[in-house]
Each structure stands twice: as C-alpha cells, then as structure tokens.
Assembly symmetry: C2
Amino acid sequence: MEKERFFKGLRAVFNPSSVAVVGASEKPAKLGFHVMKSLTRGGYEGAIIPINPSSTEVMGIKAYPSLTEYPGTPDMAIIVVPAAHVASVLAECGKKSVKGVVLITAGFKEIDDPSGALLQKEVALLADSLSIPVIGPNTFGIVNLHARLNASFTPEFSLVRAGGVTLVSQSGGISHLLGFLAMKQGIGMAKIIGLGNRLNVDFADLLPFLAEDEETGAIALYIEGLDNPRPLLEEAKKLLGRKPVVAYKSGAGTRGDAASRSHTGSLAGRGEIYDGALHQACIVTVKSPQALLDAARVLASCPGLKMNTVAILTGQAGPGMAASDVCETEGMKIAVFSTQTQEKINALLPPLAMRTNPVDMGPAWYDARAIEGIVRAALDDEAVGGALILMMFASANRDVLPRIKDFFLEWKQKKPVITCFSAPEGIWDEDIRILEEAGAIVNFPTPERAASAMSVLGRYKTLTLMPFWGTTKDENHSHPSQPLG
Amino acid sequence: MEKERFFKGLRAVFNPSSVAVVGASEKPAKLGFHVMKSLTRGGYEGAIIPINPSSTEVMGIKAYPSLTEYPGTPDMAIIVVPAAHVASVLAECGKKSVKGVVLITAGFKEIDDPSGALLQKEVALLADSLSIPVIGPNTFGIVNLHARLNASFTPEFSLVRAGGVTLVSQSGGISHLLGFLAMKQGIGMAKIIGLGNRLNVDFADLLPFLAEDEETGAIALYIEGLDNPRPLLEEAKKLLGRKPVVAYKSGAGTRGDAASRSHTGSLAGRGEIYDGALHQACIVTVKSPQALLDAARVLASCPGLKMNTVAILTGQAGPGMAASDVCETEGMKIAVFSTQTQEKINALLPPLAMRTNPVDMGPAWYDARAIEGIVRAALDDEAVGGALILMMFASANRDVLPRIKDFFLEWKQKKPVITCFSAPEGIWDEDIRILEEAGAIVNFPTPERAASAMSVLGRYKTLTLMPFWGTTKDENHSHPSQPLG
C-alpha cells in the first residue's frame, strides 16, 4: 500500500470525523453493544453511525441497515460482524471510501480450523487492494485518549488519563492489564492499540506513524512473537533521537516460548536473541508488564539523561539503599560528587556517615532549607545525570513538604527527577499530582520502581551511544541484525 | 537476660495493659506529641499515662511530672526524652517494675560523636541489669495492629488492616514505606517493629517470641547489616515447619554495601554470601521492599505447597505468558497435567492451541461453567502444587464473575490459589475483598507479582526439603553457616 494513503488511513482510524459501527447492537451479550457504549460514553464528539440490518436506532442514534445505505462517507469503520460477513463489509467500506478500519471480529488466523487463516488471507488481499489499513482482526480495538475516541469493546478504557504513553500490543489481555494499571496509578496514555492478528498493520507499520504523532511521547511495545522482526527493527532504528521505544517480549522461558508459538502462530524465539536484536535497533527492553508501563512513562515524561549517573537523595537510609541496589543491578552508575558538591552537602548535614552518594538527608528531617540545599547541590553537579529522591512522609515530617514542592516546581526537571514520595492518603497525594502535572517529577510508589525507571533512562542513553554498522550510507539494506523469524 | 523474663517484657511491649509516655507533649514539633496522637487515636483501650514535668494534662489526659510520681505501675513505657535523660528514666522504669520499653530517642550509636556509642553501651548495661527488653533506641517505635496499639510517632500506621504479616525492620524508612503500601494495597499486618539501634532486642531475640505469636502468620525481615548474624540464623532454623521467615537484605551492590556499613555501623557483607547463609537457615530471600511484603503476605495467607509445580490458568494469553516467564526465572515449575486432566480441559475448550499449561481460557470467555471446569480439573490434578489464575475483567466479560467467585469460596485454597484479577474500579473490587477475607484467594495487581509470590511458596517448599548438617543432635552448636560478621 502506498505510504501516504496508508498514513491517511491510520489518521482516520485514530482521529476520525465520523465512525461507522458495523454490527452495532443494543444487546449486552453482543460486542457491538459494548463498542457502542465505548464510543457514546467516552466523550467522542464526531458522528457515530450504527449499522444494523434489523434496527432503525441503536442507543438513541439513527441506525442504517448497511454501509451502502448510509448517505454520507464515514471516515472510519469499526467492524464487529461475524467473520463470514467481514469480506463483504470491507468491500462496502471500499465503495464508500472509508479510510481506515478497526476489525474486532475474531475467527481468523487464530483459530485451529485452517479456514480461519484462509479467510484472513482473503480479507487481507481485499484490504490491500482497497488501500485500507485494517487494525485487527481478533482485537479489542484501539483507543485515542486525546481524541476521546474509544473504538474498543471496553468502555472503561475511557477512564485512563490522556498523556504521553502509546501502547502497541500483541495481546488484548496485556492491553487491558496496563490500561487498568494506568487508570489506578494515574499514568497518562496517548493511544492503546490492540494489533490482533495484524492483517495489514503490524508493529513496523505503526512506528513511523507514531513517530510523527505529537501526542505520543514514548512507544511501548508488547511483543509475543514475530514472523519477521526485521521491518520492526529497521523502523525502530529510524526513530533514534526522535522518539524512545521500549519493549517487553514475553515468552523468555521455554514453556512461555512454546505457548507463544502456538498462541500467535508465529515464532517466538529465545529471549536473549530478541533482546540483542531489539537493543541493536535502539529499543530498550524490560522484563514485565508493569515495567513496560513504568519505562514508557519516564521516557515520555523526563528529559533525556546527559550521562548515565544518578544522585540518590533519601529522607531515610533504607529506601536509598534499596534504590541503590536496583541501580547497580540494572546498570545505572551512582554518581561521584565533585568536591564542591560534597562540601556543600557536608555543610548542611551533621557529620553522620551517609553523606556521600547515596545521601541520607534524614538528620535534616525538620530542616526544609537543608534538604532543598542538598537536592540543589546534587542536581547542579555536572557529574550527576539525574536524581532519585526518596522520602516517606507522615504526620511528623510533613512540614518540609511545601518548600520541597516549590523547589521542584521551579527546577522543573532540567535533569530527570524521579521520586518515591510515599505517604498515607491525604498527606501529599494532591501535591504529588500537581508536581507531576507540572512536569516537575515522576513519582513511583516504591524506591525499586523509581530506581528501575531511572535505569531505563540510563539504558536508553547507552543505546543511543552505541555504534551501528551500516548506519552511515544505506541503512535500510545493510542493517546487520540477525533474522529471528 | 533470663528468657521467661525477657518474653514477659516483650509481651508487655506488644500487649500492654497500660502505657506511660515519658516525654509526652502537646507541641506538634515534638515527637512526644505524635506518639500521644498515635496512642490516643489508634484505638488503644488500655490506660495511657503521659509523663511531662511541666504539664498536668496532655491531650486531655492527666499527666505526671515523672514516672516515680505516678502512683501505679505502667506495663510498658515509651521514652521520647532527649538522649541525656534516658538513663535516669530507664532507672525509674526499673524502680517502677515497668516490664518493657520502646525507646524512640535518637542520639546514640548512630551519631558520629563517640559519646553516642558510649551512652548506648551504658544504657544497655542498665537495661540488662534491670531485665527490661528495650526496643530501640533511634526507632519510630512499634505497632501491634491486633491490639490497636500504635506505639510509634506515626499515627497513620493505625490505618493498616490487622492481618498476618509481621515486619521486623532495621530501617524506619522501609517500615513506613511498607506500612503505607500495606495500607494502600489492603494487606493485613500483625506487627510493625522498628529495631532501631538494637540495644538489647535484635532480630534473633524476636524470632522465638514471634514464633509463639498467634497473630503472626509470617515474619518479614528487613536487614541492612548484622554484627553477628549467627544468632539470627540459628533462631530462624528453629522456626522451620512452624512459621515462615522471609528476608530482604539491602546493600547487595558495592555502593549499597558501603552505605550500609556506615549507616548501621555494622558489617553489611556481599549479597550472595548473605543469601546463602539465610537459605541455610530456611529463610526465603527476596530482592526489594515490595517483594518482601508480597512474600510475607502469601506465606501468611496460603497453605504450603505440597510440590513445587504450578498450573497457570489465564483468561487472556498475554498475562499467562508474563506469569510463566516469572515462574521459570524464579525456579517454579510449570506443572505437566495428567492425561485425565488434559482430557477434561480439552473437552471444555475448542481445539485452539494453548490448552496445555499455561491454559488460555479465553475461548471460553462467556462460559462460566467451562472456566470453572478447567480450574477445578487443574486444581484436582495431583501433579499441580498450586494455581495462578489470571483474568482481566471489564464490562464485556463480567458475567462470568459470580460463578467463579462461588467456586473459589467453596474450594477455599485447599492448595494455594494466587490470582491476578484486574478490573477497573467498581467492577470487582468488592468481590475480590470478600474472596480475600474468606481466605479463598490472594490477589495481586499484576501477573508478575502473582507469579513471583507463587515462586516464593515454591522456594520456601524447597528450603524445607534441604538437608542440613548437624541438625540431628546439637543444632545450636554444630550449625555450619559461615560467620558473616
């Protein structure tokens, strides 16, 4: 498919002026009911056109018996009819000049019966001949939180806060898991994209599109297995310096591998081989779903690290040590302060032991000025790439909060500032929200997740410094990464 | 100190009929204010006796100028006066036959000035001569949630739900972190104990006491460094088969090590050496604060594994693969179903690929009977030690919930059932709470944490099967673990 046409189709999928729902229903047992609920209740402001041969109205909206009978041209169509009808609906989309399709229907390549794969091939040929990008089949759909477009069968996705993380996922389960986690953890997402069986839209096709998407700050990929990883690797490499990409590839274990092979019908491959290839393509890798969300979040919300070194400034020694453990395990260097910085810090703390990095600010517990001074000294140090600030707040030490807050609002992440400010409900939730929304900090509930997120920034920095063969001349053809398919 | 006297003192610390607060205050800048707030607002029903030379009343409770002038005998005393006064207050405790003390005051061994260590030695000698166990100094205090006793400077600890996890911690920061996490995650705790500078109550002293404590289901240790680890290791070994112990030792990295050495004034030692010694003492080890809480939670809430094998039953393939990855990495075996079990499962699922363990129950999404049948078949299989059940619920599939719920309530963890049931707020929170409180499941927000918790049960099972040298005759003297101090 010609690239400009394809992108135009994707733009229609994610920012449609009108959406047809082919298979819209008022029966809660039908997915077409849930899709209509998602669209109508999610705040989408474009036109919604329910298509159902036996209803004149769905959820109070005028319905049409078929796409052909609708007088206008829907920008995008969501298809939820049984698999056997999909080809004819797609043909109608072609006639109606629908630009893009989200195909939710299951019963294609993923089923045991070979007719499923055959049907998918047929529909793919049709979609390509009509130049229509089709997300799916066998997907929950897609969500664009900035457009308040919930084109999925899960109305609750609309509750996720709009932000910078775009998830492209090979699993509906993982998409739901991460969507629910984002919801509960207040993490902002741009788009949630369920690839399904990847009819003609795959990871590699979405990367250049998302590279140009202003709402996407970082791209998170959940990968189970790829028939041919090369296009993804090549496209990812082109994003270097433009937009960070992070991936969690499941199935690292042998059983997981076998499971993946059968589930997706594609080759999973050993975890380490994948990791190596993804790193060559400048994709940061992580080892769990929550880590994928956390990594994409900091990559979307923090400035890049200038160097791979961290200052660990902690209100209590224990959390600082826990963070230090993780940084060292995950390849992040603990910064060595300049003499000048160390002297400034020494002047603000009693001659207790833990004044070098990590710095235990505990002895200055009641002294907001001292804490601010220490944080400022560390952040000003040229040897410090970013700062991890860890403080547990309860009644007894909440008085230092306002000054710390003002400092971070003013400093505003000139270098990455990742925090674990932990407090019982009502002590500091609101202030943390304000600091996060101002882009002054990225806060995590545990020191280990904060440290792990900082280490992701470090690994991304390292990847961007790696020399690549064949990047100087013809990078599309001389890319050396091993074939994994 | 004689053991019976010592235990009597600890019982008074954790279940006092009356508590004196020496240094009680109405000034919010004083820790004595926060301690009084913790005691009075936490629901403690025994007598509270504020001691303050310049007040006749603190927070509406009659105060006495000194312990001596109080006519009765307080069971336990919390001391928050400046370090210089501690010895004389402790002497008064002796005269008054106070059984146990929580010494919150800082300024002892932890300060740079050698006078601090000297003072601590002096106070320790005094406490020992008076046969009074003293928790601290330099601690936030202790909390016994079942007695509604909050003997700490953090009133918010009273918000933690009463349950089975007892934390013994060398860091106030980690105690606060884990207390706040328990609060937010609805995890039940029995006791939260801040060891502080370990005047005469150390890890080793608390283990036999907690072994007999009916409210403690599992013991979580946060360790920074130990002068002499042998007593802890020997006491822990005696708990084998009686009460599970799990530890997070921070400072595994070199910098963390150095930090720990200076912070606690004791030798930290390389992570692997510690791990080995702890394992020999049947202590499960974990690598982060959240993992410590999670591990203690499942050890307190699940029956033991009969064998180290797990069935992974998942509503969506992706989360099952993520769980499988973690199980394999953390030493948990994926069970091989018996032919009979596999046939039962095959009969309930279409001939899709992922029917062996992990089992993708997705194709039976709307069929609660099939899902129940699969779960039952797997749990009935003698080759299955425990089950991980992972399901993401949203509007479209919430109908299967009631039947699944009834099944788990009836089955009630005859084998460990650890779940990741994830849903947007309002979809299933209340049911999960009911299932957890009935002891039918232990639920985690991510598949990786659920799988990691199951792996902890597996590692505990493995430790209990390990042969130990010298356990047959004189286990106190022939214990071979290397000295770490």
